[in-house]
Structures are given as C-alpha cells and as structure tokens.
Amino acid sequence: MIALQDEKHFLEKVTHEIRVEPKDWMPDQYRKTLIRQISQHAHSEIVGMLPEGNWITRAPSLKRKAILIAKVQDEAGHGLYLYSAAETLGISRAEMIDQLHSGRAKYSSIFNYPTISWADIGAIGWLVDGAAIMNQVPLCRCSYGPYSRAMVRICKEESFHQRQGFDILLKLSQGSKAQKNMVQDSINRWWWPSIMMFGPADESSPHSRQSMEWKIKRFSNDELRQRFVDMCAQQVKVLGLELPDEKLKWNEKRQQYDFGEIDWKEFRNVVNGNGPCNKERLATRIKAHEDGAWVREAAAAHAEKRRAKSARAA
C-alpha cells in the first residue's frame, strides 16, 4: 500500500517536472537504469580521452596543443561530474571503475576507432562531440536532479570542443590538396560511427520507452540522429567536402535529409568488443589505473601522517 503511494507520488513529480533528488523514494528500476546510464556515460568521458590524448605530443602547433590539453582536461572533469552523480544513487566509485575494467560496463563505441591522422582530432571535435552535444542538451532536463545538474555543467563546456574541432578541419580544408584529402578521408571514417552514437533505431531500442516515461530521455534515438544529420549535411558544405553517403538527399516534403542505411552489424560488432581498438583502450585504461596505484597509496599515507601529526599537536 505504502509502496503504491510512493510510486504514485514519484510519477506525479516526474510528470510535473519536479526533479527527483537522491534521498527521495524512487522505483528500483529507475535507480538501476540511471546507474547504468550515468556510469556508462562517465566511462565514455574517461575512455574518450585516450584517442585524443594520443595526439597531444604531436599537435601541429603550440596553440593546438594547448587547446587539445584543455579539451582533454575537460573530458576528465566530465567523467568526474558523472561519477559523482552516479554515486548519489548508492554505487561506489571503486565499484564503477571495477565494472569498467572487468568489461562488465560499456562505454561509447565511438572510442574504439583509431585516430590515425591530425584531421581525426578535428573530426572527433566536430562529429563526436557534436553528436554528444545533441544527446546531452536534452539530458539537462533529465528528471534526476544530480544528473541534470552535471549535464548543465558539461554542456557549458562542450561547445568549445565542437568548435575547435570544426576549426581544425576548416583550416586544413583551406590548405593544400593533401591536407584537404586528409580531412575528407577522416570524415569518411568518422561519419558512420558518429551517427551510430545515437544508438539503435527506435523500433529496436527496448529501454527507450520506459526512459521517456520517466523523463530520463526526452527524444528518441532516431529523432536526435535525424537532427544531427540535418545539421552536419549543411556544415560539411562550409568545408567544401562531402559526407560519405550516396543516399544523403534533401527531402522537400519532410523538410529533412534522407540518408542511407546504417550498418548495424558493424555497430553490434564494436559494442560486443570486436572494434579496431576495444582491447587497446581497455588495456591502456587499466594500465594507467595500475600505474597510478602507488600515487594513490602515497597520497593516502601522507594524509594519514599529517592527521597523526596534527592530532599530536592538539
């Protein structure tokens, strides 16, 4: 009886756009869904630093290097905001890290593709951060308070990421023939994985409906994907280049672009761990964590020593 009351109260709140806060009653499944989504999101921010981190030492100028460091540092911060939001739901940081390292938790598949040229750093900013923003802006109104507040903070920082990426591509596209080719090659490789970032098509996205009801999600995968395609189809013209899709065509009736079929087999393949860099990414992350163990131990020992010292002095 009490549970029924609670559930009713919870749904009323969600319907009236009142945020749910950590100590409020919430359905178990709501809590589980959020923990899964927020922790995966956090892992994506953290693993997402790796493909870009690869290029910090090879950025073509001091200015580009400073920008790239700032961006990668932002992503570390995003990971932290999100881990903190997930922790308010009752999971510990250590547990989440453990889930990532043991392969039980997923992160965005896009980071399992390699960054083989400098243009890839531009393409990531423009397309990958661009798709992330498209996904994240509606999450600023997510029904769970700590998640929505983390997303507001993240979105404020994201827009520079997308712009710096486009700026890299724009400068290259105005350069030599070889530079222009490098950009086109990069777009060719990143385009399809980027539009896969919105997740499976609506008809095969089982959790979406419940998440929409709970106002965790505001728009369907296909809606957001369509908006992204429409946006990029315009922007790519500024670069004087093309998206690698022969079926991409303005549809006067729909007032949207038609586009080609996504290769879902590839999507599932990468999600299931068989993308070009899955093993390397996870191995790098685990190594970084293990290599940092002595620093964490030393910091803990140092703090303990200082506590003991100030206790003696008191």
Binding site: G77, Y81, S84, A300
Partner: protein, 94 residues
C-alpha cells in the same frame, strides 16, 4: 577492489559578495587535496573566487518524508510576507 578516498562536497563563491553554492563533489585524502582538486575541476573558467569543502559524512540533511511537516505550516502564515498588508495609496516608500 580498491577503496575510495573520502567523499567531499564542494561549495563555490562565484563572485565576491555572493553566497557559496554547492557545485558538486569529489574524492580526496584530506581537505587540502579536496580544495586543490576542486580548483582544478570546478573553477577552470573563473567560476569562483572562494572554495569551501566539507567531508560529505558531516553533512546532515532533512528527510524528504518530513517535508510536509517542515515546510507546509509556512503556507498559512501569509502575514510573514509584505504583500499581506494593504496600505493606503498615500503611504510612499514602504
């Protein structure tokens, strides 16, 4: 599995003259590290001029289930608000 460092809540004063406001949380071994990390994570774009950190376990919060008894009585005390009082037009600057 690793053990986490203690959790800290971070409060930031965005400008001189304003209150500190909750910004988020982080793990750190002690207060000094918490402030240093808060500086790196929460004030990279001049979001603050002052930082407070409090170990989360020392924060006591009201219970959401008590919210009716805690806040409802205020509803029938409209006389606490200036708009409760109708004053004649001639009274200026009040």
């Amino acid at each position: 599995m690793n053990k986490d460092w203690p959790l800290w809540e971070v409060f930031i004063r965005s400008k001189n003259g304003l209150d500190h406001k909750h910004a988020g949380s982080l793990h750190a071994t002690d207060a000094r590290m918490a402030i240093e990390n808060a500086r790196d994570v929460y004030t990279r774009r001049m979001e603050g001029v002052s930082i407070w950190v409090v170990e989360s376990k020392y924060i006591h919060a009201s219970n959401p289930e008590d919210s009716d008894s805690l806040y409802d009585p205020a509803n029938d005390k409209a006389y606490r608000h200036p708009t409760f009082y109708d004053l004649p037009e001639e009274v200026k600057n009040m």
